[in-house]
Amino acid sequence: MSGESKAIVAQGLSKRFQSFLAVDNLDLEIAKGEVVGFIGPNGAGKSTTLRMLCGLLRPSSGKAHVAGYDVEKDPEAVREHIGYMSQKFSLYNDLTVRENLRFFGGIYRVPKKEFAGRMNFAVSMAGLEGREDMLVHTLAGGWKQRLALGCAILHRPPILFLDEPTSGVEPEARRRFWDLIHDLASDGVTILVSTHYMDEAEYCNRIALINRGRLVAMGSPGELRLRDLGGKLVEIACSPLGAAVNALAGSVIEAAIFGDRLHAVLDPNGPDGEEIRKLLEEKGMNVGAIRMVSPSLEDVFVRLVSGGKEERVLS
C-alpha cells in the first residue's frame, strides 16, 4: 500500500503495444487534492497512462496504485473511487441530459435517496438547468463536456481522470471548464487532466511533462519556468521563419517558431544577439528586433522535449 496522502502513485509504469513502447518506465506521485496537468504532444502516451491508471489497460510492467488500490490486481476497487472522462466524447447522444445522468447514476450505484440532489448539482454545474430533457446531440460542445464531467462525478469520486476534456471546445467554455475543475479540487478531489493546450498548464498545481512515453519533467508551472534552458532566451523578429530556424541550427542551443517570431536559446559559448543578426542577414533574411525574453512554459517545454529527442538519438 502506498502512503496515505498520495492519491496516485506509479512506479516504473510501462505499456508496450507489440513493438511500440507507448509508456516507458513512468514514475508519478500525486498528492490528494492536487490538480496535475498531463502535458505532451499527441502520441506521447498521455491517454495510455490514464487508461492504465483507470484499470482499463494492463501495464506491461511496473505498478500503479490509485486511491490505494493496485490498478492491476484490483481494478474494480479503483473504479469505485475514480471518475473518468475519456478522450472521445462519451455520453449517449440519443439520450436526454436527464437520461444520461440517470444511467450513469445507476451504474455508479448512486443511492436512490441522494440521486436527485446529485443530479441537480451536476445539471447546475454544467449550466444545463431547463435543458434536462434535451437530447445530448443537440447540445453545444462546451455543454456536452460539462455534462460528461457531471456524469463522471455523480458518485463523488475522490479522484478524477480527465483525458483532454477541453479539446475541440471554444476558449470561453474551456475557461469555464477549468473553473469547475478548481471548484472540485477545492473540495479535495484529486484531478489528473491531460491537455495539449499550453495555456491550460498554468491552471494546474503541478505539471507532468510527458514525451515519447517518458516523464520529462514534473513540477509547478513556476518551478518549470525557472528551469535552466542552458542559455539566454531571445526573441527574434525575422522572416522567413522556417528558413531562419534552419539557418540557426548548430549556432544556437535551440531555435523554434513562436507565433510570428522566433525563440532561440543562445549558446553561452556561441554567437550573441548581434552576431545572430549578422548570420541571418548574410543568408538574405529580414531581421527586425532581437530582444531578451523570460521563458514561458512553452519555451521550457520545447527545450525539454527536444532535449529528450537528442537523448534518444544518442542512446
Binding site: R51, C54, G55, L56, L57, R58, P75, E76, R79, E80, I82, Y84, M85, S86, K88, F89, S90, L91, Y92, N93, D94, L95, E99, R102, F103, F104, G106, I107, Y108, R109, L135, C151, A152
Partner: protein
C-alpha cells in the same frame, strides 16, 4: 442498463422498424419465395392412344396448378428433344393400349419421365404426379403414396417450410440486433466510459439482452400469427411448449449475437459475422430447406452442432404433429445445453479492459 438500452432502441425508430418489420418481410419472402412447391412444371404430353380415358387422365394434369403442358408430342424421340431444349421437365406417356388394359385388368400403367438434372424439382414433381394419379377418379392408382406425406396431407411444402422460416427469422434478426449492441458502444466511444465504472460484466449482459428478448418474443408472435392466419399452417401443438422452446432459442441466438458483439468492435464487422453464423447454418444445415437425413454423413454430423436444427425440428413437430415437451426431449435438451453454454460463454466474455 436495460432501461437505458430500451430508451436507446426507442430513440432509433428506424432500427426498431427494421427489427420489427424485417421478420414480417422475411416471413413473406421466405414463405413464398423459398416455397418448395413448384408450380406449372412444364410437361410434355405424348398420348399414344388419344381416347376418352387417356384425355381424362391428361386433363387431370393440365387442370392441376402444378403442371402445365408445354408441348404435345407425337413421337417417343420428341421427349428427348424437348427435354434437351429445356422445354419440359417431365413427360407423360400414355400407351396406346391404355383403355384396353384398363377395361380388361383394371390396371393400366402410364409412363412418366422426369428430367432429373434438378433432383429437387424432380422429386417434387414426381410427388405431384403421384398425387394426381392417386386422386384421378377414373383410374386406379399405378404408383403408391410415399409415407413422407403423412403430416403434410395437402402435399403443401409450405407447412413444412414455414416453421423453419420462423427459426431462420428469429436467428437472423436476434443475432443481428444484439451483435450491434456492444460494438455500437465501442464505435461511439461510450464503451470506454462504461468500463471505467464499477458496472459488472453480468449487469452488462443482462441489461443489454433484456430489451432484445422482448423484441424476440414480439417477432416470434408476429411469425406465429402470420404462419397460422396468413399462410394457413396448421398449429396443433400447445402454446406452452412453443413458449418454452422459443425462449430457449431466443436465449441462444441473442447470446451468440452478444458474443460476436463483444469480440468484434465494429458494428459492420459484427453484423456481418452475425449474418454468417446465423444465415448459413440456419438456411443450409438446419434441415429447413434440405432434409438432414439426405445429407452426406459428415455434414449430418456437423448439423448436430448447428443449433437451429433443433429448433426447426421442434417447431415442425409442434406445428404439424402437436408434439409436447415429452416427445421432444431430445432436441429440447440439445437446445437447452446450447443455451447454457452460450450464456456461460457470454457472461465470461465481456472484459472490462481495453487490451
Amino acid at each position: 442498463m436495460a432501461y437505458k438500452e430500451t430508451l436507446q432502441i426507442r430513440r432509433d425508430p428506424r432500427s426498431l422498424a427494421i427489427a420489427l418489420l424485417m421478420p414480417l418481410m422475411q416471413m413473406l419472402m421466405l414463405g413464398y419465395g423459398v416455397s418448395l412447391d413448384i408450380k406449372h412444371v412444364p410437361l410434355c404430353l405424348y398420348d399414344q392412344e388419344n381416347s376418352q380415358n387417356s384425355r381424362l387422365l391428361a386433363d387431370d394434369f393440365v387442370s392441376s396448378k402444378w403442371f402445365s403442358v408445354s408441348r404435345v408430342l407425337t413421337s417417343e424421340e420428341g421427349i428427348r428433344d424437348a427435354m434437351d431444349r429445356g422445354e419440359c421437365v417431365a413427360a407423360l406417356v400414355i400407351p396406346s393400349n391404355f383403355s384396353r388394359r384398363l377395361a380388361m385388368t383394371k390396371r393400366a400403367s402410364v409412363q412418366a419421365i422426369f428430367d432429373a438434372t434438378d433432383v429437387n424439382t424432380t422429386n417434387i414433381a414426381l410427388g405431384y404426379a403421384q398425387g394426381i394419379m392417386a386422386r384421378t377418379s377414373t383410374l386406379p392408382s399405378t404408383v403408391d403414396f410415399e409415407p413422407g406425406t403423412w403430416f403434410n396431407e395437402t402435399l403443401d411444402s409450405r407447412n413444412f417450410i414455414i416453421p423453419g422460416v420462423i427459426a431462420v427469422i428469429l436467428a437472423l434478426v436476434g443475432a443481428q440486433l444484439t451483435s450491434l449492441t456492444i460494438s455500437r458502444e465501442w464505435e461511439r466511444g461510450t464503451m470506454e466510459q462504461l468500463i471505467s465504472t464499477p458496472i459488472s460484466a453480468s449487469e452488462v449482459l443482462v441489461g443489454k439482452l433484456i430489451p432484445y428478448v422482448a423484441i424476440g418474443f414480439i417477432n416470434a408472435g408476429f411469425c406465429l400469427v402470420s404462419a397460422v392466419y396468413w399462410f394457413g399452417v396448421p398449429f396443433r401443438g400447445s402454446m406452452g411448449t412453443l413458449f418454452v422452446t422459443t425462449s430457449l432459442f431466443i436465449v441462444v441466438v441473442l447470446g451468440i449475437g452478444y458474443l460476436i458483439s463483444v469480440r468484434v468492435r465494429s458494428q459492420l464487422g459484427a453484423s456481418q459475422i452475425a449474418l454468417l453464423v446465423t444465415m448459413l447454418p440456419t438456411t443450409l444445415l438446419s434441415g429447413y430447406t434440405f432434409p438432414i437425413d439426405q445429407m452426406p454423413q459428415a455434414i449430418q454430423a456437423i448439423s448436430l452442432v448447428v443449433y437451429p436444427r433443433y429448433f426447426v425440428t421442434i417447431l415442425r413437430a409442434i406445428f404439424l404433429k402437436g408434439s409436447g415437451l415429452d416427445d421432444l426431449w431430445m432436441p429440447v435438451s440439445g437446445l437447452a445445453i446450447y443455451a447454457i453454454v452460450i450464456v456461460w460463454l457470454a457472461s465470461t466474455a465481456f472484459r472490462k479492459r481495453l487490451d
